[in-house]
């Protein structure tokens, strides 16, 4: 089973826990030789960008993430040794935090270049031809495709390629905040960045008013193996983006005669799986979480952690990863 194999490989890079999982034939993703791996929001900043925003202390090393990327690359190569197999890796958007790095209107290539320069080993691994990762544009890097190295970046991927049942996208389109014009959001995010100096005097007030329950710090609350809700209201209560995700799946299915059964997103930084099942209706919203070392305070960033999502053979798992504690060997547990 490729999901078990992936978990074993991740255990060589760090300490692994299964945060949440769902096994259900209604996912209609039965191919056990087809695995999709999701790496959510990295929000990478340059050292200058972090410093300009008021961060102190050394820049995060991303040592764990680098080990994870190298492990996933080796895993992909081993899976692809069987030419009938598929192993596709997706960066789920907001890989680079162009919004926080520079004010609106700055050339994307220049901003992206500054970030890349300070994370060369990380980008070498993330953009390796052996990994062949898809890069999804998020709301914080929605013009990333303008940088030549990211010319292949796109907004969404449906898979498998024939009769797709799953849609992978950043998820910002489901967020009411994104109903405002990009320029507005871009400006607000830059001027309310976490380590901000300019407009500091009103930053906290604005944040409290605008984002009472939106916190950049990721939450990694384990939910274990989940069972689908039987009412749309219950599902909507479990995830703020559920309602629009559900509406999108219905519309896409109608427009393109599809049978989407899962939508995979990043964006919220709170990994969880919410599923709904009622007769023939089924949808799983898979929120893959985040890796936020560059946008957290130095204390919070010192303990690197993040999440990886994966789907294969009618099963989805969200893995939480952190560094081995001292004296800890490679091992894993189910929360």
């Amino acid at each position: 089973m490729l999901l078990d194999d992936l978990q074993s490989v991740l255990e060589t890079a760090g300490s692994v826990k299964i945060l949440s999982s769902l096994k259900n034939d209604k996912l209609q993703y039965p191919n056990e030789k087809d695995i999709r791996i999701m790496i959510p929001d990295l929000h990478l900043l340059s050292n200058r960008g972090r410093s300009a925003l008021g961060a102190t202390g050394p820049a995060p090393t991303h040592a764990l993430l680098l080990k994870v990327l190298q492990a996933v690359t080796q895993f992909r190569l081993s899976v692809k040794a069987d030419t009938d197999s598929v192993c596709a890796v997706y960066f789920m958007g907001d890989m680079l935090d162009l919004w926080r790095e520079a004010p609106s209107g700055t050339d994307t290539s220049v901003v992206a270049g500054a970030i890349i320069q300070d994370h060369l080993p990380l980008f070498a691994a993330a953009c390796s031809p052996d990994l062949k990762a898809r890069v999804i544009c998020g709301n914080h890097d929605f013009r990333l495709h303008e940088a030549s190295s990211f010319g292949a970046a796109d907004r969404r991927y449906y898979f498998p390629s024939v009769s797709p049942t799953s849609l992978c996208l950043h998820g910002d389109v489901f967020d009411w905040i994104e109903d405002f014009p990009d320029l507005f959001n871009e400006t607000i995010v830059y001027y309310t960045s976490p380590f901000l100096s300019l407009l500091d005097h009103m930053k906290n007030d604005i944040e409290k008013l605008m984002k009472p329950d939106r916190n950049d710090a990721p939450t990694f609350e384990p939910t274990g193996a989940i069972t689908p809700c039987t009412s749309l209201e219950d599902a909507a209560a479990l995830h703020p983006l559920w309602k629009r995700a559900w509406e999108t799946s219905k519309k896409t299915n109608a427009d393109f005669n599809l049978g989407l059964r899962s939508i995979i997103i990043g964006h919220t930084h709170s990994p969880r799986i919410v599923a709904y099942e009622d007769g023939p209706d089924f949808l799983a919203l898979i929120d893959t979480g985040a890796w936020l070392q560059d946008t957290l305070s130095n204390d919070a960033a010192s303990a690197e952690q993040g999440t990886i999502g994966a789907i294969c053979g009618n099963e989805v798992r969200l893995f939480h990863m952190e560094d081995f504690k001292s004296g800890d060997g490679p091992k894993s547990s189910t929360v």
Partner: protein, 167 residues
């Protein structure tokens, strides 16, 4: 109380929105044409001789459905409506009577080519810089359609990814 908080939130956002709208430069309504179109790497490029052959047409449809990225062909779909939208264009490009430079500005192509072409095309694979007018490119929402012509006849097509999908 909740209603009051939501009202305050909306009022603050509205004020900031109108303030920033007035003070900040607005992006252009349409993506501006670049100074030059660069012919991308094999991953993001499809080359075909004209008239299009059936085999090339099917491969090109797959390339377009994959959003113009060979790395995801056969594994992901990006532009779900690409087959229905572009196949009639490819069929036109398979017919010799349509393969003249002037044909592209006629109404039968207007569904796909709504803007004027640019003649600034850079292809570092070529031995020499192009004869002016020998290569030109039409943009659409997701791709550049680059044509080589000789004596007014279209002889080669290159399609490259230009923008992410919007469907």
């Amino acid at each position: 109380m909740v209603l009051l908080k939501k009202s305050i939130r909306f009022a603050v956002i509205s004020v900031i929105f109108y303030t920033t709208s007035c003070c900040c430069p607005h992006p252009p309504a349409n993506q501006p044409l670049p100074c030059a179109v660069a012919v991308r790497e094999h991953q993001l490029r499809f080359d075909a001789g004209l008239p299009l052959q059936i085999k090339d047409m099917e491969s090109l449809v797959q390339f377009l459905v994959a959003g113009g990225d060979r790395n995801v062909m056969g594994e992901d779909a990006v532009l779900l409506g690409a087959d229905a939208h572009y196949r009639p264009l490819l069929q036109l490009l398979a017919q010799t009577e349509n393969l003249y430079v002037d044909s592209l500005s006629k109404s039968k192509f207007s569904k796909w080519f709504t803007q004027k072409p640019t003649f600034q095309v850079v292809d570092a694979r070529e031995e020499n810089v192009p004869v002016p007018g020998a290569v030109f490119a039409y943009p659409d929402a997701s791709f550049w359609w680059i044509f080589h012509q000789k004596e007014g006849k279209l002889i080669q097509l290159i399609v490259i990814k230009s923008n992410p999908s919007n469907n």
